[in-house]
Amino acid sequence: MTEPYLKPILPDDQEALLTGDAARAEMRRRSRRGFLTGGVAAAAAWGIWHTIRYSAPVDGLQRPLRDGLRFDSEVSRHVLGNKRLAPTFPVDKAVSDVRLNGNIGIDPVIKFDTWRLQVTGLNSASSSPQYVSDVNTYKYSEDMALMDQDPNADAYGDTGGSLDSQDEESVVEPGLLLTLDHIRALPRVEMITQLKCIEGWSEIVHWGGARFSDFVAAYKGEAAALPKYVGMQTPNREYYIGLFKEDALHPQTLLCYEMNGEPLSRDHGAPLRLVTPIKYGIKHLKQIGKITFTDDKPADYWAENGYDWNAGH
């Protein structure tokens, strides 16, 4: 005898076989039950989809999905941590012409010799010679003649920063006003890492600058505890990012002033930009104006537009 078409797969199949009309009747009963259950399950699935799809957005993303990103970020921070280093590459793997993919917040005509790095939120800073009672009173200057010389001036379009908005900040914030030489005085490191854009593309880039952790060590002062977050913004405050303190202090997070051994170009964020290969490119703020150490989660340009605040690898 050949094997039955279907072998019994569970013990209760050993029950007496139903045949003929009894089998057909039982099949009808089971079909009714199965398709009803299936219908209810399908309706529930549709309900879940519909609820999420039409939830009110939080910072440009439906609330359940936003909560999901926060949950993912917490899982990642607590399970994976941030201790590992991003892979580094030999210098000949670095691209010579690094892709330009965003200029939001870059002021096309800011005079670099009037550029200062504003640093607030370091309690211990008052003993430093660079300490001022309100960093917000500092005014950057623009050289409108640069507009004609800059071959990329058109590229800035209407996102091109104007420093007018620097008047809007009325809060008094004591802190440091540093020049690029202060940053250059810190140990210089070179790093060849992969820049990963959240859009999908990636490029290996040869960076040069100072470790953020060295910068903090130099200006934090003795025994002062750092707040939970680090926020950064451009001089015109049009682009801004936030980092967890641990990620800012990661040994590969740089205050970068060189690319391929040359000073940064304006388009790539001169005079000083952030580089952190443990984050997507959206966190690599160009043309840093102010760094804020704070316990309040800093606003983040792309996180306000639907993206993950953490954006970490």
Binding site: P4, A23, R99, N305
Partner: protein, 262 residues
Amino acid sequence: MSHNTDDAVPDPSLESAASPAEPVTVLRRKHRVASRWMHWINFPLLGIMIWSGLLIYWADSDAANLHPHQTYRIGLGSWTLFRFFPDGFYAKLNMPFRLAEGMGWHFFFMWFFMINGVAYALYTLISGAWREIIPSRHALRDAWLVVLHDLHLRKDCPPARKYNGAQQIAYTAIILAGAGSLCTGLAIYKPVQLHALTWLLGGYECARFLHFWLTIGFVLFFVIHILQVVRAGWNNFRSMVTGYELTEEILPSQQKTEPDTL
């Protein structure tokens, strides 16, 4: 469909005395309740993962001219035959400028896709159902005969079992593809903290390449799967919902009673 035709051929010497036994309709259990639930739960989950994945791929395709030979394409070196996907494709599906939303969905439902997939794999291993799915020794030859039969190039089909060789190969491959999607996805998602995995998969770009082609594989599987389900008919489809199938069989009891009717 009688699968016991050999047994059904009566002894010629008895032919004049007895009529051959007629097959009877039998109710047989086919699919376990857990397999059915996990199968159907996977359907919308995979759908959401593919759809949200396309929202993410759009952002890469949008400025494709800036990285024309990177990752999602058919080509070699700096020669590209086809770039995934053309603008019109995304436009038709209302996909442009939804990268953030796509990531939101993708990184929300990845948990459920993973949990369902891992639960299915564990259940299949523990229940012993893997024995039905894992390709048997003759699966390749079997699968070839099934393909020839389905393309109407061959009349007879290999003997029916719960899953034929082609099904065994397809179902095993799709489970491995699910595991591959999970691993390549993690390698892309956390390429620094999970760098060992990313490295094993050939690096960041390679992991993205594999993740993409596994998804294409899911879509191809889906199309063929649907065609085969339509071909196999209602009784088969119903068994994936109810767990039971009606078969036409000649039961051992019928054969035993035949000589008595003389």
